[in-house]
Symmetry: C2
Subunit: 736 residues, 2 copies
Amino acid sequence: MAAKVLQTNFDVDYVVTYRMCDDKAKGIAQFQKLIRVLNQVGLTTEVRRGDETSLLIFLKAADEKILADVVYRSRIRDWLHGIRQIQPVSDTARALTAEPLTQAERYRQIHHMITCSPEDGGAGITPQYGEWEQVEAIFPLHDHVKNKRWLTEFSRKTFLTPEDLDEIRDTMGEKIAYYYAFIQSYFTFMTFPAAFGFSCWVLLGKFSPVYAIVNGLWTVVFVEYWKRQEQELAINWGVKNVSAIEGKRKEFVPEKTATDPITGEKIAFFPAKKRLQRQLLQIPLALLCVVALGVVICTCYAIEIFISEIYDGPLKSILVFLPTIILTLAVPTISSHLTQFAELLTSFENYETQEAHDKAMVSKVFVINFITSYTAIFLTSFVYVPFATLLVPYLDIFSLTAKPFVNDEKQVEIPSPATFTINPNRLRDQMIYFAVTAQIVNFGMETIVPLLTQKGTKKYKEMQSSRAEKSAGAAPSISASDPPEEKEFLTRVREEAALPEYDVTTDLREMCIQFGYLSLFSVIWPLTPVCYFINNWIEIRGDTFKLTVESRRPTPERADSIGPWLDSLEFLAWLGSITSAALVYMFNGGNGPDGKPHAIKLWALLLSVFLSEHIFLVVRVLVRTAISKLDSAAQRKERSERFMVRKKYLEDAGLADAIKPLASAPNSPLVDSDGAQAFSNITRESLEEDARQDSLQDSDPSGRFWKRQRSGRESEQVGLGLIDLMDLGSRDKKKQ
Amino acid sequence: MAAKVLQTNFDVDYVVTYRMCDDKAKGIAQFQKLIRVLNQVGLTTEVRRGDETSLLIFLKAADEKILADVVYRSRIRDWLHGIRQIQPVSDTARALTAEPLTQAERYRQIHHMITCSPEDGGAGITPQYGEWEQVEAIFPLHDHVKNKRWLTEFSRKTFLTPEDLDEIRDTMGEKIAYYYAFIQSYFTFMTFPAAFGFSCWVLLGKFSPVYAIVNGLWTVVFVEYWKRQEQELAINWGVKNVSAIEGKRKEFVPEKTATDPITGEKIAFFPAKKRLQRQLLQIPLALLCVVALGVVICTCYAIEIFISEIYDGPLKSILVFLPTIILTLAVPTISSHLTQFAELLTSFENYETQEAHDKAMVSKVFVINFITSYTAIFLTSFVYVPFATLLVPYLDIFSLTAKPFVNDEKQVEIPSPATFTINPNRLRDQMIYFAVTAQIVNFGMETIVPLLTQKGTKKYKEMQSSRAEKSAGAAPSISASDPPEEKEFLTRVREEAALPEYDVTTDLREMCIQFGYLSLFSVIWPLTPVCYFINNWIEIRGDTFKLTVESRRPTPERADSIGPWLDSLEFLAWLGSITSAALVYMFNGGNGPDGKPHAIKLWALLLSVFLSEHIFLVVRVLVRTAISKLDSAAQRKERSERFMVRKKYLEDAGLADAIKPLASAPNSPLVDSDGAQAFSNITRESLEEDARQDSLQDSDPSGRFWKRQRSGRESEQVGLGLIDLMDLGSRDKKKQ
């Protein structure tokens, strides 16, 4: 679909889109400042027309020496923070040749030059924020040759190789590479539950305890394996501890600025206690989420049951879609409002670093997603199926509302608890929906719809401009004045500039939620992992398509993990041990609950949950310990590297012998060899005599004590004398 | 009791006791080797007579220069491993004056000289192991002045001050200081539950849910606080990450020795998988512990109940002590056998470092102690009280055994389930036993008995030697030949040499088990914390007495935490949330279980346990997060220190400007200021014309692209021209 592949990017490193504001004078002044500031940090600029009211500013490093300097400083910083072990070559000029930059690194460095604050030597441009509100976006250009190759290659193979991951890392940066590594590990790991789930489906049927145990075990092993894998990748990619370099948030509002008494450094300070108080607002926020989303979902759920299982009036075939429509409209609206609230709260919590901010935000987003994703199926499992017979009759409140639409004769019949029977397939159908339908819909929304929108918009614009050209002949098409040899290139850049940003957290969240279904509910329908396995094969390719064709190329970022989503995975695996046990207890053996609560023995339910959870926790400790004990190539590499660095440092500083053993103590009175004979005429008495004489001259008791035996030889002689005095034989006698 | 305080140690750093073996020639050869080796590493020796068959070898650093060298090397090592931030002064001679050694450090360094392997520059003496089997002990001498001051001072105050802890650290090393810091924090924290427990006892009575909640909360806060405190102390004491310097175990048997391909270092290698397999043996060991100890304890428990509550035959008053006697004899025997098993297994697991070995050992010891300490009260709570009426009648198997001792007429009456009533006070009585009696007994066993034994042995020896002198006049008393001015000193050293070693893990274990009672069962009797509060005041003083008077002075060791006991504390706090909830549910409200199982609703019990546990886990996450967010003085200090070190490094290397901002890019084409006027005659057309001409000379499309605007000024001009072309007004029109 990326129709024609343009072979060159004209060496452009970055593109800045500058949107003119209505106040022309202000816009011009700011534009001039922008160009100046960019040139000042060492970037060459070329300006071209963007769309109607925007300019495209092309940037590249003015000369490799400046870039080398920037790279060297960043490497020194990494080294001082312990991210890299090896001290960078001190010759700045050689920095780029000694360790060549990957594409991702180059873009990261240039992005740093553009965005970091003037105090740190950058241009300090903050898109869409503060004085740089006119700067719409800063982005690098796609490498279309590589993109096309990826799309073709990935669609031909089942598993991505480590080399593919390395290439993604070299092109897109570690943050995105971590997502690919994660989904790749997840996909590979899923071969097992997919195969096992299929066998269970054939042999054991639904709600098999065997499946639940194996599935639980699998979630533990996968999460613990991934944790390890994350660390290995961090070592291999040289990004371990990268989160320690704290990227300061520009929005951070310090309460006061203090000068550190020791370092003299200015520190922007915000009291932790105050932040803690603000964080307490998360509790009401979480409650709000539960109530707002909970009420909507529960209501729709109740309506749905009422219409599909009780209501028998007219328009049933239409009304049955009503709750789905309400849900589809209400839930995203409420979610987005709640997400906005969450964003406000996270900003209010006023974190100093971007990382802390993102982490706080992700945890809130997880709560919202957890509720929207799992409430319905929770209701079916733990409310509808066990209690439907008791609860459904109360749904006649809806029949009151429904009455006006119903003929008086054809009265809605409310089933008595005795006659009502639950729909035994509802739970399975729901799970199939989440495993199949929802995934397809999601793929469509995520990949197909943007593509169509994009194509549509393009066509619309083309039509509009051709019409404009035809009609008044007023403003000529923007591309008309492009130099012919750049025409193709500029068209492409304009297209890329119009694309949305790529956000990797959305994709990670999706995988997390999927993992949740697998861990929490897949015991309902053992084919779930099979569906997810297929889905994820497509997902990886779809995401690649989204990343390379449907989004602006993202600025490469470093990362040393998938971040807070890891905690979500752990939590979901844990929760899975509880829900799976409960589901198996309630539904196993065919004679599951029938909507009457007395059929379930609460103590047995609780006991199975309690046991399952604690077995899970114990197994987790065991798996964690076992995995942590296994040695890996990456760790060995890291250890030897560290050793070499230490050794080299000592050698450089002329201290090499400080780690070598002391061959012999330099001033030891015993350095001269042999001579046991030389002292053979020393007797204990003569020695003691010497000592007594010495002691007359020395009034210090310690001095006298240590002068009795003036050398090791003398100690030896005295010792031998003392041994002679010992009654060694008598000990044997006593023993007898 | 430390009768007379000797003011001087004659500058002795270390004492080595050398025990002669029966093979005199071998003993002499080894003794000679010992003296030579000690002198070779730079220690001065003095030999004196020990007891009948041993020698005392007094050691001190031969000269401060050698010691300074050793200290310098150790500091460099610390620095390379990141334990200290500041690079040590490179002038060896100044090492000791620039940063004076504490007593503990001095002893640690000298101990290192004596024990570390010859390859690392030490004498390689390993007491009671390998060729050094004859070396019985290596120990420093007590500082009697300081010891006496401690005993007096500590007995006068309630809380130890941070200065006291620092002094303990400076004298005894960090490992022991950590124990003191722990017990001190624990004792201080306990003021709260002691006061609260007392109020509960007065106002709410036993099994109060309020007490259980507050107590659970307290355990969480305490454990999390201590974790933090541990880290703070590590920073303050300069031992952070000290566990990273791995003390190699001399017993480690590598499977093969490989040469690292990168570093060329020889690495002794033992495959992790093989170790993992061996570690799996821990599972049968744990089961063995449960079975062996469990059977004994349960049997004794059953006998005790039988005798005290059912049996009414003759000798009851004597027989009632039978189970206690069996327990007192059997449990320590079985425990010690199991501990030996555990030791064997841990050795078999073949750890490379002493730390890993100790950790593995502690976890096994914890299992054994857990069973011996808590089984009895677990039985009372969760078997006897709920099920006694059902189970007790089965105890008549004992009456069969008892029959021979009973008159035929006076038949033992087996109560029928209807008539048997449980002893409602058993649980409380048992808890009081653990809170009061057991603590007193323990104190006696730990502090009083050793003192008496010591005094007794001394007296016995004195009597024996005076009798020997009187009788045959054969061998004169050993002390008779001591030089008069050393007489007192040597007597003291001989006494210290005869003392047992001090083992800090025993004391830590004791505190851990106590914490367990508090967390698991104190809801039974809210006065428990009050008793423990009092006990711990005495405990600190008793331990000081044990450390300073009843033990040889231990070699100072470094540590950065209390080690694996921390995990035990976390586990006990967690388990406490389960047992407390169960106890409160079963016994609250006075009408507790009466020995009939149907009185307890299992689902309600499980539900309360489930809720309690999960609330506990959530609260723990919250407390942990809150504590981790709070900033501390120690952490600030560490941060600024690290900052200073980095700054200094860059300054030294002449790289200071590498962290300063680039004032302006050196080769930027825009460095020369102003000139916007100079280019004002440039029009877009003229520029493009220039470009077109250039492009004729340049065949590379990128070159042509970037030459269109040859400077920032030109980009600016072109941009302004493009802005002029924009239809900015029309956008407003469209908006309307």
